[in-house]
Amino acid sequence: MLRMMLLAAVACLLLLPATIAHAQEEEGGEAIRGTIVQRPEEGDPVPVPGVDITVSTADGEEVGTVTTTEDGSYALELPGPGDYSATLVAETLPEDVQLTDPDRATLEFTIRPGQSRPLLYPLGEAESAGGRFAAFMSRALQLAVEGIKFGLIIAMTAVGLSLIFGTTGLVNFAHGELVTFGAIAAWVVNVTLGVHFFLATIIAIAIGAVAGGLLDRGLWAPLRRRGTGLIAMLVISIGLSIFLRYTFLYFFGGRTRPYGQYAVQRAIEIGPIGIAPKDIVAIVLSLLVLGGVGLVLQRTKIGKAMRAVADNRDLAESSGINVERVILFVWMFGGGLATLGGVMLGLGEQVSWQMGFQLLLLMFAGVTLGGLGTAYGALLGSLVVGLFIQLSTLVISPELKNVGALLVLILILLVRPQGILGQAERIG
């Protein structure tokens, strides 16, 4: 009985569109239309007359050819609704004009009953070989600058990840959530409380550092005292990551949100590249901060202690270093840096609930590349990853750029598993 009713319902659903389609079919008028124009960099678009466009059905049967008129327009009646493909005959274009994307000379499309569909063929000026090379170089330069900026952001977040691993042995899968937390904290202070972006960032860094410290004191330090194993802690960090990420989603929502200031900026031209002032500030600031991190690690007592604990915990402890205190500092340090990285990422791409998680694998790639557990290795590795990701889009499609970075991570492990600056002994 139920089955019969279902069948009847399905039949109704199937018939409904058919009747509607029938009503429209009587109107006829299926066609393609459009205008072929060339848009020079300056000035008005110029119509291109005398260009042939050939239309075929999906089965390859030719429907007809239409030639553009004096004003560059064309229109062709089609026999009925269905799948078609239209090819712009490149040989009929004037010599100084070409398709901006030669692969899109043939367009495939579906015509609904009664539809008169416009087709788009973007045209540009034909380039000489020398011009193409110059364009390639300026694009490479532009991508290199973006790569450095992205690499610096990864580096800032990865230093903490690497130091935490070095001092405690924990592979912290929840490190991305520290990044998100920092970015969201800055957003709340900036947008909800109305504090200016710069001040909000400084406040957020303090909040991020405290959050890092609280995580250590509240969760990881007690677990270390209980003697919880490293793999158990790794799984706990995954649980923490899921918990925090969806808590952010719960309260912050799924939309991406911009900061109150500097969200949109016009790029300024420097030679062949265009860069927004905020990106220049971000790059300079990250270089200063990372230089500062280097100084802290190299010159101050706590920095030396951090490196000592990362290098050999037992030796450090027996030479009188308070290891637990050092680890607390590492967590606060990592939390603050992750926040700054998150804010810079949010400035470029807006704040979202999973921005840190999306960065996590790239952090791992940078840290592994540089050498797990070393601070300077993380810096170097992250820069390489950032540059690689952006520059790879010269040859591969941008949506696959992270794939390239992750493949390199796997290859590096094949050739030099200890990373660029790591020591061979610690990976056994």
Partner: protein, 330 residues
Amino acid sequence: MNWEFIVGRSLASAFGADAAVFALAAIGLNLHFGYTGLLNFGQVGFMALGAYGISVTVATLGFSLWWGLALGAALSVTLALLLGLPTLRLRADYLAIVTIAASEIVRFVARSVSMREITGGSFGLSDFADEFYAINPFPGGSYGLGLVQYSARGFWVITVGWTLVALLALMTYVLMHSPWGRVLRSIREDEDAARSLGKNVYSYKMQSLVVGGLIGTLAGVMYAISQQSVQPDTYSTPVTFYAYAIIILGGTARVFGPVLGSMIFWALLSFTDTALRQAVAAGYIPTAIMDGTQVGQMRFILLGLGLMLLMIFRPQGILGDRKEIALDAH
């Protein structure tokens, strides 16, 4: 609050297709993590290969579903070898990072525009499992007991799914009581000891990775069949974490750990979901605190919290033995 409905839903989930699929994935992962001590965080990558193996074979290439199984298996073995070669000689956490990266690579490639002709891009593929449903021996109607009812199609998927679970659980039992299984466990306990007894540790780890990965592939195949569609974003990292939560809940390195874990996991998930939804609908929870979309997010918050608490307070899960888990490996 309709308690009968809530309990019915939870029970239906405990024995449903998803529970069977995740039990399969977790059985494979249990071989890696539980018995061999390998930190595979890319189990979902193996599942994706199984799912795309059959869907691409049928929907894109037009061959029979059964060839798709072979394609999925071949792809999985290749992936396992690719992953294992560089990392199995290294410390455990390297495998973790590389496997999670590999599973994301599979997803990114499958959803890319350049693969749209083959994998359907971000839309995925659908309607490729007709051959499976054509051999459904159950005539139409509804099957089940009391509150728990499944359609004929659903019941066929469930029957096959749980049969596979039973067979593979049996296989795990036999394997783990064989010399091969004992070597795996000795590797988990002490690699150097196993090596000093003349065992080729690297080769055993690789075999474990391949076999567990193949079981994951089978899980992916069943998942794709039960949904009659694949979408790349279904196969993202949280799925692997589900499987971890399941084996830790049920009991790591226990034959029935993944099975029991999966049933309880899905029952709990379904219970909180329907109960919260009804509580919101009935106004017990004001919408200012939680609305309809937030209910769906709540399950992940609870999942994360549950995984943490379980690992901290009862890492051996329900069936496990604390001495049998490789949690202190380094």
